[in-house]
């Protein structure tokens, strides 16, 4: 078992005011449980051992002395974030109001957010774990009350030595809608968990994700969509592009609970492997305990649209460039769902830079 002592020493180096009993208790819970082992089905393809190789300076627990009031932890990582984060966004968006500007939490190494959208409220939240910070964890609990709408964007354009853990929990009430886009570019080791509870009739979630690790990067996206009530809708579409020696993991669970009749759910995952050393593991899962449901899922690997390929070549575009163009199209299918134009354009540009032949594409823009 890897030693986690440096997590303790990093914590002990905090100013006394920051070492609250609650955070200390969380730290102990983490140290006691340790990192999740590969023998767990949910951790089959992702080994967090590299976290134990980080220096204690790289861990950067938050030195603030804010009180948070979270006493129990779902698992050891939950406890770790609780111990290292001093807080974050803690907001309620008033009923029937619309936030014009996206919420962008302050960029700290460890963040813990609580957000509530009251009835009919509308907001955009951007969680960004980009940059070179060696270790970052962001955990968020988000509640969508009846009829509210949230556009959540989680972006990780992280450096080659960056480690990232995020976990977002969304509870979606009657007729509320969560519209989520996640993008992962770069990073050394990232694990992103997204739990969506469609808790009341008419709740819906639209989830689009792109993962495109490079170099020796490893990125793992796990999603759980729980249909707990009748007449809920979920749409999930993930796309993966892996090059170099990168390794991507996608695991998406759709669970239709016993009384969730008239569930309408569709899940798609499509993958492109660009280099011989790259690997993608994808597992779109369905668990269904209600009979009057419409559920479909699909996974594909390595298929660029043949028709489009011929179309491009018939116009004189050489095969390699045509491939790049179609890889862009492939990613665009996810990126186009990012609503703030500026954010979408920046991300698209960033992605282009890491595609083979991307320079050529950039020159064409």
């Amino acid at each position: 078992m890897a030693t986690l002592e440096h997590f303790r020493s990093a914590f002990d180096a905090l100013p006394e005011a920051a070492r609250t009993p609650a955070r200390r208790a969380a730290l102990y819970a983490f140290l006691e449980q340790g990192l999740p082992p590969n023998t767990l089905e949910d951790w089959q393809y992702t080994d967090l051992a590299p976290l134990s190789a980080l220096t204690s300076e790289a861990l950067r627990p938050d030195a603030d002395a804010t009180q948070m009031g979270i006493e129990s932890f779902a698992d050891s990582l939950d406890a770790l974030n609780r111990a290292f984060a001093a807080g974050g966004l803690d907001r309620s968006i008033a009923a029937n109001t619309k936030l014009e500007e996206p919420l962008r939490p302050e960029n700290r190494a460890h963040q813990r957010h609580r957000l509530k959208l009251e009835r009919g409220a509308e907001a955009t939240l951007i969680l960004n774990t980009s940059g070179d910070m060696p270790f970052q964890t962001i955990f968020a609990d988000i509640e969508l009350e009846a009829g509210s709408r949230l556009h959540l964007i989680r972006i990780s354009d992280a450096g080659a030595d960056a480690h990232r853990l995020t976990r977002v929990k969304l509870r979606v009430a009657r007729d509320a809608c969560a519209d989520v886009v996640t993008v992962d570019l770069g990073g050394k080791l990232s694990r992103h968990d997204l739990h969506v509870d469609l808790a009341e009739p008419g709740a819906s979630v639209y989830l689009h994700g792109l993962y495109a690790p490079v170099g020796k990067g490893h990125v793992d996206n796990h999603t759980w969509i729980e249909h707990r009530a009748p007449h809920c809708i979920s749409r999930e579409s993930f796309r993966g592009i892996a090059r170099d020696q990168a390794h991507a993991v996608f695991n998406g669970m759709i669970r239709v609970h016993k009384d969730a009749q008239k569930t309408d759910s569709e899940q798609r995952v499509a993958n492109l492997i660009l280099s011989p050393g790259a690997e993608i593991n994808a597992k779109p899962e369905l668990e269904i305990y209600a009979d009057d449901v419409k559920c479909a899922h699909g996974a594909t690997f390595g298929q660029l649209d043949d028709q489009a390929m011929f179309y491009l070549r018939s116009r004189g575009v050489p095969e390699a460039l045509a491939r790049t163009l179609l890889t862009c199209t492939f990613a665009h299918e996810v990126l186009r769902h990012i609503r703030p134009d500026g954010v979408r354009e920046r991300v698209t540009k960033r992605l282009l830079r890491q595609l083979p032949g991307g320079e050529q594409m950039e020159a064409l823009q």
Partner: protein, 252 residues
């Protein structure tokens, strides 16, 4: 310019073309008509280099080259343009980027200099205006969310921008209202010249009222069963393809 001799082709083990002979000289406009399933689309896709079709016999020469040896993009650079019956959507790649990628790749392949950005934009905008299109379309994805008519118009725009030598237009008239048909025909006529040739593949006489062909061929059962002047098209429009069954029988 184009010389097709005894061309046989198949897809999925099924013979579609069973001996096509066709010669097109520079400056000529040919129309190929025929019932559904006669092999019209196969012929056009095959000329552009679609890989699903296997040529089992015969030859196709373009200028002094063996066309069948070339990849689709090489054929494009040599001057072959296929107007697709069903143009493909390429979301996320703007028309501007697409045209620039295509034009510059073709120029490069021909050993010509790539166009400067400003010259390119001016050139494309000029063509957009000729096609009576809104230049805002240039920043939209290729055919993304276009109506059937808009897609066909976009095909002709691409043709105007790329200035090919041989234009193979597969059912370019289908799905067009009368105004759009006029614009599309004007576009085609704009490209007619002594150095270029056009091969119109169509089901109807309508397009031929606007783009006068020099020769009309009837394709049925994978063979050209009848050839003639513009009058043949009118005859077909009046009588349908039924009366040809006899001559098909004779040919076989």
């Amino acid at each position: 310019m184009l010389d097709i001799q005894n061309l046989h082709a198949r897809i999925d083990g099924k013979d579609i073309l069973k001996g096509i002979d066709l010669r097109i000289n520079a400056g000529e406009v040919h129309a190929i008509m025929g019932p559904n399933g006669s092999g019209k689309s196969t012929l056009s896709k095959l000329l552009a280099g679609h890989e699903d079709y296997t040529v089992t016999q015969g030859s196709v020469r373009f200028g002094d080259e063996d066309l069948l040896e070339l990849d689709p993009e090489q054929r494009a650079a040599k001057g072959i343009f296929l107007g697709f019956q069903y143009p493909v959507e390429i979301p996320g790649v703007s028309n501007m980027v697409f045209l620039k990628a295509a034009l510059n790749a073709q120029r490069k392949a021909r050993g010509e200099k790539e166009l400067e950005a400003a010259d390119f934009i001016a050139w494309v905008r000029h063509r957009v205006k000729q096609m009576k299109m809104d230049s805002a379309m240039l920043s939209r994805g290729v055919n993304e969310g276009f109506s059937g008519g808009e897609k066909k118009r976009n095909e002709i725009l691409q043709m105007l921008v790329l200035e090919p030598k041989l234009m193979v237009l597969d059912e370019t008239d289908s799905g067009l209202d009368i105004d759009a048909l006029k614009i599309v025909s004007d576009g085609i006529n704009l490209m007619r010249s002594k150095e270029r040739a056009v091969l119109l593949v169509t089901h109807y006489q309508r397009l031929l009222d606007y783009v006068q062909p020099d020769f009309v061929h009837v394709l049925a059962g994978g063979r050209i069963v009848k050839s003639g002047g513009p009058d043949l098209a009118r005859e077909l429009e009046e009588k349908g393809y039924g009366w040809l069954q006899n001559s098909v029988g004779q040919a076989a």
